[in-house]
């Protein structure tokens, strides 16, 4: 993906996640839990998990907007 587009998407996704309770938790099927604060950290670091989270959140917004 073009760097500029990813940066814009990352910014959009971060702003949305920052509106959530930072201590809210995601339960993962591997036995671990992840807080919103952790999730934001992954996105800021742009590690593999964070990049996937940006991609998924953009897909979610498309579903919300009526796309697939």
């Amino acid at each position: 993906m073009e760097k500029g587009i990813f940066e814009e998407q990352k910014h959009l996704v971060l702003e949305r996640f920052k509106t959530l309770n930072p201590e809210a938790k995601i339960m993962l099927g591997d036995g671990k839990e992840l807080t919103v604060r952790d999730l934001i950290g992954h996105i800021i670091r742009e590690d593999e998990f964070g990049r996937k989270a940006v991609h998924v959140q953009i897909r979610m917004l498309r579903v919300l907007a009526g796309g697939s």
Partner: protein, 217 residues
């Protein structure tokens, strides 16, 4: 002769307690059915030795695994590995639905290459959002309900004998429907945004390996 389903349902920590609850509806709906016979490996019964004994003995057409997982394995009671590359041949000629993290990414692909009709699972982590006040009673957890609903759509479609691709298609439609409906829900505790994200995550990574036209017979 009834078609047979084998279900593994360990329950030894918070995550497996939720998955245990997710599969409760299937167990109840099939109880008393003459068309489908269910065998449960529940709680401490969900161990490798029992899986390796019951599959050849019962010959189930559908194997529904609930537990922790990673790319190369699915876990049972107290996270004992109950299915991996060493015993994946057990699933040859059957449909597998693994409600577990990541197992499709490697184990599922190996399974399909070795003759499993279809292996349905997640290519990455499986996410659930829980109500922090309801962890002692997963069945009353409103936050977990949409995740339970989509799992029910998939296993029920498979149990009805729908093709794997149709079963997954119905499930993906349910994910999208729930993402949209949660977008307009009242949100007193600020969980809706996270629920929608986790639903979208699970939608993204739900997939299958093997024959999309396979049916539970």
């Amino acid at each position: 002769m009834p078609r047979k389903i084998l279900v593994t349902r360990p329950r030894h920590d918070m995550q497996t307690a939720y998955l245990y609850d997710f599969s409760e509806g299937l167990i109840k709906s099939m109880r008393g059915s003459k068309a489908v016979h269910i065998t449960e490996l529940r709680d401490s019964q969900a161990v490798r030795a029992n899986l390796e004994k019951v599959i050849p003995h019962e010959n189930p057409g559908l194997v529904f695994l609930n537990g922790h997982g990673d790319g190369k394995s699915v876990g049972g009671y107290k996270d004992e590995t109950i299915l991996d590359c060493k015993n994946i041949a057990l699933t040859k000629g059957r449909i597998v639905y693994a409600l577990a993290c990541e197992s499709l990414s490697y184990l599922g692909e190996i399974a399909a290459k070795q003759g499993t009709k279809a292996y349905i699972g997640y290519r990455d982590k499986f996410m659930v959002i829980r109500d922090l006040t309801r962890t002692s009673s997963p069945s009353k957890d409103i936050n977990a309900l949409p995740f339970k609903k989509v799992c029910s759509v998939l296993i029920n479609a498979l149990a009805e004998g729908k093709e794997v691709k149709e079963s997954i298609g119905r499930t993906r439609d349910k994910y999208r429907e729930l993402i949209k409906s949660y977008g307009t829900s009242k949100d007193d505790y600020g969980d809706v945004g996270l629920i929608r994200f986790a639903l979208a995550w699970d939608l993204e990574f739900l997939d299958m390996a093997g024959d999309p036209s396979a049916r539970f017979t």
